[in-house]
Each structure stands twice: as structure tokens, then as C-alpha cells.
């Protein structure tokens, strides 16, 4: 990613979360991965000023307590959170899910490939794109948090 801020992953399935972690490690993406189990936990994390705001949010849709769409409804209406790009990472190929999430302004909707090699390939493209694209975090914010910007997050 373009900066070294954490990536926030909303995923209730532990095995799926481990796969994301492993893929990022294989791709040598150094951003720390913060994982929460559902939308409710994500909002608590995001609204705690002691936590660094993530550079991007990767979110699953089907989760207990507060699912991905419910989370997006709250996050995208929150002036402090709406600017963080949210990318759906799901197994759902449901047209309704796709339409609803794009109406809630997601920055991508990626159907998780089951095959690990293809999954890594997908994560690689996500990393590539969000390294090319600027991110909403202000440089001052990064300086304050002692975080390097501009592609520094690579080995």
C-alpha cells in the first residue's frame, strides 16, 4: 500500500483471515493487518482515537452481529470514516449485494478466489492499485503517527 498504516480486515472466519494474512506476507506487504470479527467490532476499533486509522478496509459481507452492509451504512454516513476506502472481499456473487454495496460507495467488490494462488494474485492487484492510488490520510497525520509514506512500506 502507499502508506504504512494498518489494513483493517472485517472477517468472522478465522481460516479466511489467516489466508489474507498469509497472502500479504507472501507478497511482502508490510502494512500491519488488524482483524476484527464483525462490523460492530470494526466501528469500536475505528472510533477509538488511540488506534491509527487504517489505509483501507477489506470487508466480508456475511458476518454475525453487524454484517458488511450494515457496517457500510454506518461508516459511509460518518464524516470521519467515510473517506477510508472500503473494499468488499467476499464469496457472495449475489447481484443484490453487489448493487447495494456500490450504492454505499465501496471502492471495489472482489469475489474471493478459492484457489490460493489465484487469491494471492487478487491480493497483489489490490496492493498494486492502492499503491498507485493516493490514500486519504493526510501526510501530517502520518508524520504524527510516525508512519512513512510514499511506497516506504516495502522490503
Amino acid at each position: 500500500m502507499r502508506d504504512c498504516k494498518p489494513i483493517l480486515l472485517l472477517e468472522d472466519d478465522t481460516v479466511d483471515a489467516m489466508t489474507v494474512k498469509r497472502a500479504l506476507k507472501d507478497l511482502k506487504v508490510l502494512n500491519p493487518l488488524v482483524r476484527v470479527g464483525n462490523g460492530e467490532e470494526a466501528l469500536v476499533h475505528l472510533r477509538d482515537d488511540n488506534n491509527i486509522k487504517p489505509c483501507v478496509i477489506l470487508l466480508d459481507l456475511n458476518m454475525p452481529k453487524m454484517n458488511g452492509i450494515e457496517f457500510l451504512r454506518v461508516a459511509k454516513a460518518d464524516e470521519k470514516l467515510k473517506r477510508i476506502p472500503a473494499i468488499v472481499l467476499t464469496t457472495s456473487k449475489d447481484d443484490q449485494d453487489r448493487l447495494q454495496t456500490f450504492r454505499l460507495n465501496v471502492s471495489g467488490f472482489i469475489v474471493k478466489p478459492v484457489d490460493y494462488i489465484k487469491f494471492v494474485e487478487a491480493m497483489k492487484i489490490i496492493d498494486l492499485y492502492w499503491t498507485l492510488s493516493e490514500l486519504p490520510n493526510s501526510e501530517q497525520e502520518c508524520l504524527n503517527a510516525n508512519i512513512q509514506t510514499d511506497n516506504a512500506c516495502r522490503r
Binding site: 459511509k76 464524516e79 467515510k82 473517506r83 477510508i84 476506502p85 473494499i87 447481484d95 453487489r98 448493487l99 456500490f102 450504492r103 460507495n105 465501496v106 471502492s107 471495489g108 467488490f109 472482489i110 469475489v111 487478487a122 492487484i125 489490490i126 498494486l128 492499485y129 498507485l132 492510488s133 493516493e134 490514500l135 486519504p136 493526510s138 501526510e139
Partner: protein, 140 residues
Amino acid sequence: MRTSRPIMLVEDDSIDAMTVKRAMKDLKVSNHLVHLANGEEAMNYLHSEDNHKPCVILLDLNMPKMDGFEFLKIAKNDAELRQIPVIVLTTSKEERDKVESFQFCVAGYIVKPTDYKKFVDAIKTIDLYWTLSELPCCVA
């Protein structure tokens, strides 16, 4: 891109628009490129029922008549248009422009590389990402 729908480019500089067109041709991106010179023209195009809605919108910020932010303000408050991913493609590195664009939930903010080869690489990455990602429009 994942669908064959057109790509909309909102750009007042005709040379920059030609560069985008040329890069897409070099990359063999088959989507038709609909070029409009400012936000107002883009809105007119999008509001006409006769036109195919684009799969994504590439948006410049500094334009006459209706600039990128004014366009975003209308598009992102329109129930029909808000779902179309908007990617800012600009020369501006201004922190303010970046933050304001992301407040409108843009799906990317890309500073145009001046070097043509790097520019082609940027368009390639955009194409790769929006081929991997699903798009809101139902029909391919």
C-alpha cells in the same frame, strides 16, 4: 474492464484525453472511451436515457464550467449515479484535493505520471483492478 460498458473520461485538456485514449489502445483495453470536457457535459450525458451508463468514470479535477468536485457533489447525491465508481485522474498533489475527493468516496485518486510509459502502467493497473473487481452494472 470486467464489462464491455464504456469508460467515461471527464477531462478538459484534449491532449491529456488523447493520451488516455492512446494508452488504452496500447493496452488493448476494448471498452469504448466516452470523452467529455467538463462536469456539466458529463452530467448531460449521464442523464440522457439514450446513453449507456459507463462502468467507471475517470475524472479530472480542474475543469471550466463544472469542476470535478462539483460533479462529485451531484453524482454522489444521485441515487442512480452514486453507484458508478469514480476514479480521480489529476495532476494535483494537493493534500486538500485528495482529502476532499475521498470525502466523496472516490474509488481511487491517481496523480497522472508525466512520463508516457509510467502513464501506461498506471492505466494498466486501473484496468487490472477493475477487471478483478465486480462492477455495479448488471449486464456485461
